[in-house]
């Protein structure tokens, strides 16, 4: 979606959106037509807003976002590992 729709759905001001993009908290796709925001960007914007309402300050937001992204990576890898282990166990028990 374009910036205008994004601002409405995320319920933030356009100058706030500028700040968040400049800080690298949001990484929309940039093209000649402007910025393209994904549903993931929208969910991330809601999360940033929620963190602010929880009292997380400006300096804390990128720290939290980065740690959460690392956790998502770990969950994906852990899930893959568990799948692989399960497969191995099944193969072993069927021998």
């Amino acid at each position: 979606m374009q910036s205008r729709t994004f601002i409405l759905q995320a319920r933030i001001e356009s100058d706030e959106l500028e700040k968040w993009c400049a800080e690298g908290w949001l990484l929309p796709r940039e093209s000649e037509a402007g910025r393209e925001f994904s549903d993931a960007d929208l969910a991330r914007a809601h999360f940033i807003r929620d963190l602010q309402q929880l009292g997380v300050g400006h300096e804390g937001i990128p720290i939290v976002l980065d740690l959460v992204d690392q956790i998502h990576g770990l969950r994906r890898v852990t899930r893959d590992l568990l799948e692989a282990v399960k497969t191995l166990q099944q193969e072993r028990s069927s021998k």
């Binding site: 690298g24 990484l27 993931a40 929620d50 990576g73 590992l81």
Partner: protein, 298 residues
């Protein structure tokens, strides 16, 4: 959903606004779905807590609820998808930083570990660090400098007035370019300030020592005082003793809010360079007595 928002937040009906906010934040931090990516049951509880705070956190709504004009079901927020639902998607936010150090190139497992690499659609470029040495006056008064980058190109840097030793100036977008269309990183410039031969900076104030003559100290007079922005005239009061400090308001370094610190001028009485026979005779004949070392005697 609980009909009593006070019960949901665990506060008294007489709780202050501050107590309510504290209670909400304490619960919300524990229950927020994005802070609990593995817990599927937390979302409903979180919605309940948020709905309760929507009423009790708003003085108007709280009043209406207390008077029975609205009920707890009035506070439904439009739902949105939480960020944790997108953790599986390919995204520029994907991070392998938590497990980068596991696995070796030939491992089967490393194929799994490097999956994040394929989804790195676009990301922000890295920051570049520089050091810049400024003259004392350049830092205090501000200015413009050109920094030459390793690749030969030049970067124009605005030095804000009042820049301090150790301060880091951030130039957005002047770092490494982004990957796949992502934004560029920043240039971070750490400032070193060369000392000045007469001015000293302490916080936002400028300090200096000003020599004055015997006549100026005894009889008073007007003296020219250097400041970081040029010379000013100051009145030395009659009978000024050594160590007296004169204060020039606003002649210090600029602060972020636009105000400035002050300049403190410590006066130092200095005798003429070469011994003066007339002065010597006068002092020898002088019958005044005083004990400057009184305070040292124990």
């Amino acid at each position: 959903m609980s009909a009593d928002p006070y019960l949901t937040l665990g506060v008294d009906k007489s709780a202050s606004a501050e107590d309510i906010q504290k209670a909400y934040r304490r619960l919300a931090k524990k229950l927020h779905p994005d802070l609990n990516p593995g817990n599927k049951t937390t979302e409903d509880k979180f919605k309940e807590v948020t709905a309760a705070y929507d009423i009790l956190g708003d003085p108007d709504k709280r009043g209406k609820f207390d008077r029975g004009e609205i009920d707890a079901s009035g506070a439904e927020r439009p739902t949105h998808r939480y960020y944790r639902d997108f953790s599986d998607h390919a995204s520029p936010y994907a991070s392998d930083a938590a497990y980068e150090d596991f696995g070796e190139a030939d491992d089967i497992l490393s194929q799994m570990f490097s999956r994040a690499g394929r989804s790195r659609a676009h990301r922000r470029g890295g920051d570049i660090h520089y050091r810049l040495e400024l003259d004392f006056l350049e830092a205090v008064n501000g200015g413009e400098r050109q920094v030459v980058l390793p690749d030969g190109s030049a970067l124009d840097v605005v030095i804000p007035a009042g820049t301090r030793e150790g301060q880091v100036l951030r130039l957005r977008g002047k770092g490494h370019p982004g990957v796949g269309g992502g934004p560029a990183g920043d240039a971070l410039i750490e400032i070193d300030v060369r000392p000045h031969h007469i001015f000293r900076r302490k916080g936002d104030d400028i300090h200096l020592e000003l020599p004055i003559s015997l006549r100026e100290a005894v009889l008073g007079g007007e003296v020219i005082v250097p400041t970081t922005t040029g010379k000013v005239m100051m009145k030395v009061p009659k009978w000024t003793n050594a160590g007296a400090v004169l204060r020039l308001k606003g002649k210090g370094a600029r602060r972020l809010d636009g105000t400035s610190g002050d300049e403190f001028v410590t006066l130092k009485i200095v005798l003429p360079e070469k011994p003066d026979p007339e002065l010597e005779k006068f002092v020898a004949d002088w019958r005044g007595e005083y004990s400057p070392r009184q305070t040292l005697e124990t």
